[in-house]
């Protein structure tokens, strides 16, 4: 067992107040302990945690490019294997690096089945470059490249189902988590690093700057996403759905209303048609993962 009191992600980094990804970095390292090598993609976390000559990482850490973390991790794992070394290899990459530009390298790494854990900090857009849409951006979110306007209600495409894509690669363990549930995050990271083969964890990491909410409410927003069914925490082992967090589901309205990226859906009045589409996404999630305890009246 690793000593969870260790703080291996140091304070003093440049993340925004209430940064979801920064919380994840801290939790992740509590779960891995010191015997780890971290591979980062280009992105918010890389930039806020490693401005030369300072670093927040008290474990070995490497960043190469935006799109190649999974391949770099594959190479590290091959080297460790060849030399009988015991460090765990963990990627920590944003959703743009994961859902979009990094897909090729990720697909290769998962196909080869390296003993790595790939963690995606999913804040649902390219935040480092200024809140542009990624394949992880939810339907109707207003981003700087899918702005809501007279002819648009924001991002016109649904969020890509990456966990299922990696599950289809034969990943030994695939899970979703949320920084709103820190113990669950640590438990899943610990499970992934101790599961042989390529494992994937996608963690919902609310971004106060990109989503438009008060940085004190990161956990609250994360919980709301789970409670309305727009984010589902689940685990898949060897291709089978094992566990999904059951909830008393609330309508999606409160979660949407709390964030500037969905504000256009309520102005000048509630856009019932669009919100119904988003509700349908939550309903489909609930049915797919069987998460409903019962619907609130």
């Amino acid at each position: 067992m690793v000593d969870k009191s260790l703080e291996l992600f140091d304070c003093g980094h440049r993340a925004c107040g209430g940064c979801g990804p920064a919380m994840l970095a801290r939790l992740m390292l509590k779960a891995t302990g010191e015997n780890v090598i971290v591979v980062a993609s280009t992105g918010c976390m890389e930039v806020f945690s490693t401005p030369y000559p300072e670093t927040a990482w008290k474990v070995p850490w490497i960043h190469s490019l935006f799109e190649n973390a999974a391949a770099v991790a594959s190479g590290i794992e091959a080297s460790l294997k060849h030399n009988n070394r015991t460090e765990k290899v963990v990627c920590i990459c944003g959703d743009g690096a994961t859902f979009d530009i990094g897909m090729l390298c990720i697909s290769g790494a998962f196909e080869r089945g390296h003993d790595i854990t790939y963690i995606c900090y999913d804040n649902e857009a390219y935040m480092n470059t200024g809140i542009q849409r990624s394949g992880a951006t939810p339907y109707d979110a207003s981003t700087t490249t899918t702005p809501a306007g007279r002819m648009s209600t924001g991002n016109a495409l649904p969020k890509k189902d990456l966990p299922q894509i990696l599950n289809a690669h034969g990943a030994s363990y695939v899970a979703t988590a949320s920084v709103a549930y820190p113990m669950d995050v640590m438990k899943k990271v610990e499970k992934a690093i101790n599961t042989p083969g390529a494992c994937y964890i996608q963690v919902h990491t609310p971004c106060s700057t990109g989503w438009g909410f008060d940085g004190a409410k990161t956990i609250e927003i994360g919980k709301q996403a789970i409670e309305c069914g727009l984010w589902v925490n689940y685990e898949m082992e060897n291709g089978e759905l094992k566990k999904a967090k059951k909830i008393l589901r609330t309508p999606v309205d409160d979660y949407l209303k709390a964030q500037k990226r969905f504000r256009h859906l309520f102005k000048p009045e509630r856009n019932a048609e669009e919100i119904a589409k988003i509700q349908a996404i939550a309903d489909a999630n609930a049915a797919k993962y069987n998460i409903d305890i019962k619907l609130k009246e």
Binding site: E34, N35, V36, I37, V39, E46, V47, T50, P51, Y52, P53, T55, W57, K58, V59, P60, W61, I62, H63, S64, L65, E67, N68, A71, V72, A73, S74, G75, I76, E77, A78, S79, L80, K81, H82, N83, R85, E87, L104, C105, S107, G108, A109, E111, R112
Partner: protein, 382 residues
């Protein structure tokens, strides 16, 4: 032995711990042979079949950062796809050696030889060696690893050789024994590596207050790479009888009226053409460039001192420049102030044959002061 197989033997003798590459013509025979060696237990390495060249070199970067000696090979489009990683590896100072079976770049698609691919990455921070024949390109792999891994260098390197012309040609070649290479090339000792016992951050970002100094230091390392290549090339000569202490090789340069400058396999044809020209009273010579990066400007200036006309044979095109050739620009720079006329001749692009009579015709053009041009165009197609 086939050129590619000789390269594979050389790579094996260097004992890479990780080999990662992606199939691309005309490099494939190298990595196919290495895969056989791993499958047969001749080579104890992790062999990763990857999804793309982007991953191939990224895998090598990761393994190198973790402390392993690594090997890859590519050509042409593959090198272009990995270009972002190519620059990154140099900036991260990982001494990775990669063989380049030189091939033209599309469009139009061409699998045949020229040197546009590696020459286009001349500013990437990898040193570049070019072999004239199978023996030389084989030997250059040992030299490349030994130079790259020196702690005063720590830069990656390309070993370049002409696709098909060398990669698929059978020549007699002296392959050293494992004991000999073990004596020449000791195990890789990284300057630093990813290690949980001694954590460090690699590949951090640099603000304008820090970035330039990184580039400056890398340039200094590249200059030191020149000395290192020369020193380990000399050492190689002492052990194996083939001396590579010079970055260039001069052929019949005494009293030459016209000197060719070239890289790679074309030098063999040029040497034969020179012999014939000399027999006919035309005083021609050749300066072959073996180390193209770092560019051996002083050595080239010395070798060409006093030659009135220099004809640079370019298997590349720097589109939109007045000289047209990449190498000619640098040769001209090396000869600044000497009054020597330097001309580029773009030849052999996309695998077009270059014959002895072409070399002779180019010498005549240089004598007349006509150059900075394509040579050998099929004018009926234009």
């Amino acid at each position: 032995m086939e050129g590619s197989h000789a390269v594979a033997e050389a790579a094996k003798l260097c004992r890479p711990e990780v080999v990662s590459a992606y199939p691309i013509t005309p490099q494939t025979h190298i990595v196919e042979r290495l895969a056989e060696m791993v499958a047969d237990g001749e080579l104890d390495a992790e062999y990763l079949c990857v999804d793309s060249e982007l991953s191939a070199l990224s895998v090598c970067l990761g393994s190198s950062a973790a402390g392993s000696r690594v090997y890859s090979a590519t050509s042409s489009q593959g090198l272009m796809l990995m270009a972002e990683v190519v620059f990154n590896v140099a900036g991260m100072r990982q001494p990775i050696i990669m063989s380049i079976a030189n091939r033209a770049l599309g469009a139009p698609l061409s699998i045949w030889n020229d040197q546009q691919d590696s020459l286009s990455l001349r500013d990437s921070g990898w040193f570049q060696l070019y072999g004239e024949d199978v023996q030389e390109m084989t030997d250059q792999h040992f030299i490349a690893y030994k130079a790259a891994e020196r702690h005063d260098v720590l830069l990656p390197g390309f070993v370049c050789f002409d696709g098909f012309i060398l990669s698929h040609t059978y020549e007699p070649v002296d392959i050293p024994t494992q004991e000999e290479i073990d004596a020449y090339l000791p195990p890789y000792v990284p300057y630093n590596k990813l290690d949980a016992k001694s954590p460090l951050s690699m590949g951090m970002y640099a603000t304008p207050d820090y970035y330039m100094e990184f580039r400056y230091e890398t340039d200094l390392a590249m200059q030191r790479a020149g000395n290192a290549i020369s020193e380990v090339g000399k050492e190689f000569g002492e052990m194996f009888g083939r001396d590579y202490s010079m970055h260039t090789e001069s052929y019949r340069m005494d009293d030459a009226d016209v000197a060719f400058v070239a890289l790679g396999s074309i030098c063999g044809t040029v040497k034969d053409a020179i012999d014939e020209m000399r027999a006919d009273g035309i005083k021609a010579g050749l300066v072959k460039i073996r180390t193209y990066r770092p560019f051996p400007a002083k050595e080239i200036a010395h070798a060409l001192a006093g030659v009135p006309k220099v004809a640079v044979l370019e298997k590349n095109i720097s589109l939109g420049t007045s000289m047209k050739g990449i190498v000619g620009l640098e040769v001209k720079d090396a000869l600044t102030g000497t009054g020597i006329d330097v001309y580029s001749y773009v030849v052999g692009l996309g695998g077009r044959d270059i014959r002895k009579k072409d070399i002779r015709a180019i010498a005549a053009l240089a004598e007349k002061g006509e150059g900075n041009m394509f040579y050998g165009l099929r004018t009926e197609l234009l």
